[in-house]
């Protein structure tokens, strides 16, 4: 077996080894939590992002006001985000906001159809998008919620 053949075989084997791992890390159904480019943080823990979307915390580290933006109710991305990060059903989330309104007048984040555009345009905005739909450089990725 000559050198060229060995090289080809090695490449094929390496690709076969890496491919499942790459595809597992970069699934198109991963949810990317993205923030406006002006936000001065690079990574945000999942618990903290959850607090932003439940309005238990309202500022990024450094003091910038958080502007959470939800995807429209009923969309796949909204359902998946709620399941993977909030760990609630739609009714549970609604019930949570009804209680928050009564207790302290806290209302839920707005819902927009194009969350990427919102994050791109609004200072302090944070939202989420499927990896397959993410447009690079429009926002910063601060958390990845992998597909189950």
């Amino acid at each position: 077996m000559n050198r060229q053949t060995l090289h080809i075989a090695a490449l094929v084997l390496t690709g076969a080894f890496l491919a499942p791992r790459l595809s597992a890390a970069d699934s198109p159904n991963d949810i990317l939590v993205v923030v406006n480019n002006s936000v001065p943080v690079e990574n945000i823990p999942a618990d903290r992002v959850r607090n932003f979307f439940l309005k238990k915390a309202q500022r990024f580290k450094g003091g910038m006001k958080v502007f959470p933006v939800n995807a429209r109710e009923g969309t796949d991305i909204r359902k998946e985000f709620r399941k993977r990060l909030l760990d609630m059903t739609a009714n549970e989330e609604t019930r949570y906001w009804q209680d928050q309104k009564i207790k302290g007048g806290i209302t839920p984040p707005p819902e927009l159809g194009n969350t990427q555009k919102a994050v791109f345009k609004i200072k302090g905005a944070v939202s989420y998008v499927f990896r397959s739909e993410y447009k690079e450089k429009t926002s910063k990725v601060v958390l990845v919620l992998p597909a189950s």
Partner: protein
């Protein structure tokens, strides 16, 4: 012989011809049936063809409509996208949520009390099965900028209709009850007036998570029940004694500094410092003394995925003063003096605990109030003791154990929570045998995020004597919208 043969042949021929003709005659109708059958067949075929053609056309129209609907949906989405883009052009960090929102809650309660025969409640309590609407609360919330918001909560009530201002005592007083019925002249119509109570109205400025200011009329930041506040959020139907007796002032008019720190993302430390008019006969209109009430709230809480806990406390110090105005001179100059008719210092401490483990909730609050008089008022005649009120201590606590049953397999998102509660109070330790206990149990069912149904039964017992003993049944529907 020949002749016979010819005759036979002729007859045979004749017979054959006759039968042939008869057969022809017999076959004449068959030609008519054949025509009908063919016609029917043709009609059937035509009908089938028409049906097929119609079905094809229907399918074509359906497909066209579907395509049209799809196109309209797409156009609608694009238009929405354009509107949102336009909206986003005008958004800045000030626009963090809906600018202005209106929402609220109300409840309908069905009650029946069974006071013991020799209980003081026997005459005082109507004790008739009754529907009640005790709360109709409307909220007005405005988020003016990303740090500035205002919240107003109004409670609409049928009161003061039915409020008893006096009981009859022979030779001394008459029974009096408020009737708010008024007559409208034109068109002639009777109308019962109700009331509006301001539950809260305040401005909040919060430039940081760890620091904010509330200015106005706010809920005292103490306990769990007072902060939960609304009937859709509360587990039980009946309030604990400490709430309805207002051992702690439930609302205050003044200023509050507050904030939250995050030692970890799941651990919160909350604080609040209050300065207010405190408690008074007209504290929401005017303070009748120079002393302002001070309060401090501290709370540490942990929120895990299925486990949570919180421990908090609130300390309050205030002065209650009541006065009357007396004209002491008219000439040479009109002169009025104020006389203090009642005054006391109150020092109150409250603790609250909340533990949640996999749907099991243990919630409890304890409160202790010390009243020290500077100007004693006469004892309430209800105490039965007469004389002037000495300094006293009030103690009350309650505990609720509730379990949100793991029935999602059968109930889906609906939540069913049975609960039991114990509520103890000793309202005035200067009066012997004045403590009582309430034990109750019930079911809390949430068929939707907007509706809570509760069914409850309870027993109130005085430890000594039968002062306020009664049993009750209650059912409640609480709606948030």
């Amino acid at each position: 012989m020949k002749r016979t043969l010819v005759l036979v042949l002729g007859l045979s021929l004749l017979f054959w011809a006759a039968t042939g003709l008869a057969q022809d005659d017999a076959e004449a109708p068959p030609p008519a049936d054949s025509n009908d059958a063919t016609g029917v067949k043709e009609l059937k075929a035509e009908l089938t063809a028409m049906r097929e053609e119609t079905n094809t056309k229907i399918e074509e129209v359906k497909k066209e409509n579907e395509e049209r609907v799809e196109k309209l949906k797409q156009e609608h989405e694009e238009r929405l996208d354009d509107i949102e883009t336009e909206m986003m052009e005008n958004l800045d960090t000030g626009d963090t949520e809906d600018r202005f929102s209106i929402y609220g809650f109300f409840d309908l309660t069905f009650v029946k009390d069974f006071p013991d025969k020799n209980s003081v409640m026997t005459g005082l309590d109507p004790a008739k099965t009754s529907f009640l609407m005790s709360n109709l609360n409307i909220y007005f919330k405005s988020q003016m900028t990303d740090t500035l918001s205002a919240l107003v909560e109004l409670r609409f009530t049928f009161l003061p209709l039915g409020h008893e201002t006096s009981l009859e005592m022979e030779g001394m007083t008459e029974y009096e009850r408020v009737d708010t019925t008024v007559l409208q002249a034109n068109p002639y119509k009777e109308q019962r007036l109700g009331g509006v109570a301001i539950e809260r109205a305040h401005l909040t400025w919060q430039p940081a998570d760890f620091f904010g200011v509330v200015a106005g009329y706010f809920l005292t930041p103490y306990g769990i029940w007072n902060i939960d506040h609304g009937t859709p959020t509360l587990i039980a139907v009946r309030e604990p004694y400490m709430q309805w007796a207002r051992i702690m002032p439930l609302t205050q008019l003044g200023l509050q500094l507050f904030g939250r720190a995050y030692p970890t993302s799941r651990l919160y430390f909350d604080y609040a410092f209050t300065v207010s008019n405190g408690r008074g006969p007209m504290d929401t209109v005017h303070d009748l003394d120079e002393n302002k009430a001070l309060g401090l709230r501290l709370r540490l809480s942990y929120e895990g995925k299925n486990v949570g806990a919180g421990l908090g406390g609130y300390g309050y110090y205030g002065k209650y003063t009541d006065i009357k105005k007396v004209i002491t001179a008219i000439q040479p100059a009109f002169h009025v003096e104020q006389e203090v008719t009642a005054g006391y210092d109150e020092l109150i401490g409250a603790l609250d605990l909340l533990v949640e483990i996999y749907g099991v909730r243990l919630q409890g609050e304890f409160i202790r109030r010390l009243i020290q008089y500077s100007e004693r008022a006469e004892r309430s005649h209800l105490s039965g003791m007469g004389g002037y009120q000495p300094n006293y201590i009030t103690i009350a606590f309650y505990g609720i154990l509730a379990w949100e049953l793991p029935l999602s397999k059968w109930l889906g998102d609906m939540k069913l929570t049975p609960y039991v509660e114990v509520d103890y109070n000793d309202r005035d330790d200067s009066i012997p045998d004045n403590d009582s206990i309430m034990i109750l149990g019930g079911l809390n069912f949430k068929p939707s995020p907007f509706v809570t149904l509760k069914a409850e039964a309870g027993r109130v017992n005085s430890f000594h004597g039968t002062r306020a003993n009664l049993t009750y049944l209650a059912a409640q529907m609480a709606v948030s919208f």
